[in-house]
Symmetry: C2
DNA sequence: TATATCACTATCCTTTTGTATAGTACTTAC
DNA sequence: GTAAGTACTATACAAAAGGATAGTGATATA
């Protein structure tokens, strides 16, 4: 009978947890990898053309930018517009859905600053370290 | 002279944008991949032991869980405690710093639901699709 | 004519991520 | 004594992500 109670407890916790896991998984599927959020940030600051974005984001290669923009388009976060002027101009803009990531990015940015101060200041992790105080 | 103005505009925007990019990059470095946030969510719901976490998160393998827990420990988000009882019990808990991700996860969860409703309902993307309405 | 820009694509390679399967040393349950 | 659970590690492999470099066809600039 102890066993039965335990199962109930586990099931409840498991079910609650799953309810959180699924949407977070969905979000991560759309925003995965090193570059997507950085591209979205760049577009929030008004960048629009391929080469501009490439210059804005340190170390991104053309190949990655091209691939990630295609992914973001498929997820309806970014819109690609081709103007058939001479020469042809390709413009990238955020969709309404893409702009709705503003809050998430803000929270991530604030947490990132905290993380850098609390953890990265002490020990060198990765390659983006700059000396703190 | 048009050129000079343009350079100023780009520089300003670039500098502002970089200020956002760096912390977000820091955050992504600590939280990257498919599993870290899911593990943290699982620990927020009170799970603590290796096998429990493994059961809680769909499709994670022992190898990945083991690796990601080590990464999270290195970033001071998770604490690993060994009790030398018989048999030995290993407990994983969130650190204060790990718990500070609660808001981020909540925002991500809410956005994930919105994303599922707005985008994933229409077209099949990935393997987590369930029929909407 | 030579160089540069734009918006990419192609190729090759390495690293990381993820899967599958098995095994270990211990203990508890049946 | 057999099976199952705990907390992993080891091995082998496939797939995806990411990096480096070069090239393309257009046009614009010097």
């Amino acid at each position: 009978m102890e066993k039965k109670e335990e199962i109930c407890e586990v099931k409840l916790s498991h079910s609650d947890c799953s309810k959180s896991l699924l949407p977070v998984r969905d979000a991560l599927d759309a925003l995965n990898g090193k570059w997507k959020l950085q591209i979205i940030i760049s577009l929030m600051f008004g960048n629009k053309r391929f080469t501009q974005i490439a210059k804005e984001i340190p170390n991104i290669t053309d190949k990655m930018l091209s691939k990630e923009l295609r992914d973001l388009e498929a997820h309806e976060l970014v819109k690609r517009t081709v103007y058939d002027s001479i020469p042809v101009i390709v413009e990238y803009t955020l969709t309404e859905h893409g702009r709705s990531l503003r809050e998430l990015i803000e929270v991530l940015r604030v947490w990132g600053i905290k993380h850098r101060n609390q953890v990265m200041g002490k020990v060198e992790i990765g390659d983006t370290l700059e000396v703190v105080n």
